[in-house]
Amino acid sequence: MATLTRAPASAGRRRQGASHRSTVVMKIAMAISGAVLLAYLTAHMLGNLKIFFGESSFDHYAHWLRTIGEPLVPHEGTLWIIRAALTASVVVHMAMAILLTRRARRARPVKYAHRPPVQGSYAARTMRWGGVIIALFVVYHLLDLTVGVANPVGASGKPYTNVTADFEHWYITAIYTVAVVAVGFHLRHGVWSMTRTLGRQRPGTERLIARISTGYAVLMTVGFLSVPFAVTVGIVG
């Protein structure tokens, strides 16, 4: 039946919320933690290349990492500071990823019957599964070459021996290859996305930044993969 509405004679003001817990802030946290990990990965990749200068050079480099900053900081002090920063970044990065993913799931409760083709970037579409693969790999990688329990040799203080022992097995090389490629894709979108989130946006720079991101990702992938393949084919070890 017809109902009657009289126009309201008074009205209240709608509240406005704060944005410090918004999705944009999550994204900013994601970008900053990603940037920390990015800096670390770059140094890690460059350090890995020391292996091409021989066993003593590589082991010496590994030892040096433990002595940075002495005597201002105790032995392995800097290393632990770095490890703490990395752990914090990983926690923030993953927490934000989980929050944003859960939000995304909630935001599309009914899926498309016709699966949408990827129009934007493939790397962007694989961030979440890529991230999971990388997380699992990091656990294995730590057990393999940091703690040593998953390493065929597991000699303490002899990283060169451990690394070469790993990649004499093709399947370990295969595992590392899959993981590094996943990292490569992750970096491709990660770097690009980070500049979108944190950078000053100038019109016309989009394509340039996309190219830089791709170049960087390729460089990192090749750099990381050079070590296992060098060992597997016998250039190193």
Partner: protein, 248 residues
């Protein structure tokens, strides 16, 4: 030409809905996609069936009402084109085409292909305006605006609020829509003054309306019928960061 349409039919918000196939044997290549639906609907009506409900109004690509996901792509396969201006010459004779509504929690289905997009209005209400009451506004020529800024503001302002960005985004985010408006107003001296409070209020309203978070995937800009660049989102992020920094 002959086409088979598989269309999402859903009686109402409570109905589960599903895809139903219809043949249209007498389509013409000069028809628009919506005229194809008109032909189908006229036939359904005259045979006593309920026609397919879909949103449409201006049919010239500017009102933003039409909202069909065609073979998984909002507004269909042609770039920078709304559904109403998509013509059948872009399809093959005998083709089967899937037609679905925008899918997002923030866009609940009203009926068939019609969804409720009022979440977008909430975002504008939160801050997508310049506080300029009607009255004696300053003389229009009092504030010159650099042509580059005016042009960039205009480019962002061409958003038609159709919601294709949300429909395409794997996260169901309305960030391209939100950022386009904030960019338009923030680039102009008249709007810059309240940019800090604007972006905070808009992002809050965006999140409240159950849109997902942006992860810069770029799917939005790929389907945007007006080609709003992804750069507006970057600018928006920067504005939010700036607002946080200044502690508003």
């Amino acid at each position: 030409m002959k086409l088979t349409l598989r269309i999402w039919r859903q009686k109402g918000p409570a109905d589960r809905g599903g895809m139903v196939a219809y043949d249209v044997p007498d389509a013409s290549a000069d028809m628009s996609f919506l005229e194809l639906l008109d032909v189908l609907n006229e036939r359904l009506t005259e045979s006593g069936e309920e026609p397919v409900a879909f949103d449409h109004d201006c049919r010239e690509g500017i009102c933003g009402a039409c909202s069909l996901v065609i073979d998984g792509v909002p507004h269909g396969p042609q770039k920078a084109t709304t559904t109403c201006q998509l013509h059948l010459r872009h399809f093959r004779d005998g083709q089967t085409i899937d037609v679905e509504p925008w899918r997002a929690a923030a866009f609940p289905v009203v009926k068939d292909l019609v969804v409720d997009r009022s979440g977008l209005d909430r975002i504008i209400e939160a801050g997508g305006y310049v506080t300029a009451p009607t009255g004696s506004a300053p003389e229009a020529h009092a504030t010159p605006i650099a042509k580059a800024d005016a042009d960039a503001a205009f480019e962002a302002a061409t958003c038609i609020g159709c919601g294709a960005c949300v429909a395409a985004c794997p996260n169901g985010s309305a960030m391209l829509f939100t950022a386009a408006k904030a960019t338009h107003l923030g680039l102009l001296p008249q709007g810059r003054v309240e940019q800090d409070t604007r972006v905070e209020a808009m992002i809050h309203a965006h999140d409240e309306a159950d849109f997902g978070g942006c992860t810069n995937t770029g799917e939005c800009t790929a389907v945007c019928p007006k080609g709003i660049p992804l750069g507006v989102i970057g600018r928006f992020n920067g504005d939010v960061l700036g607002a946080l920094w200044r502690g508003r």
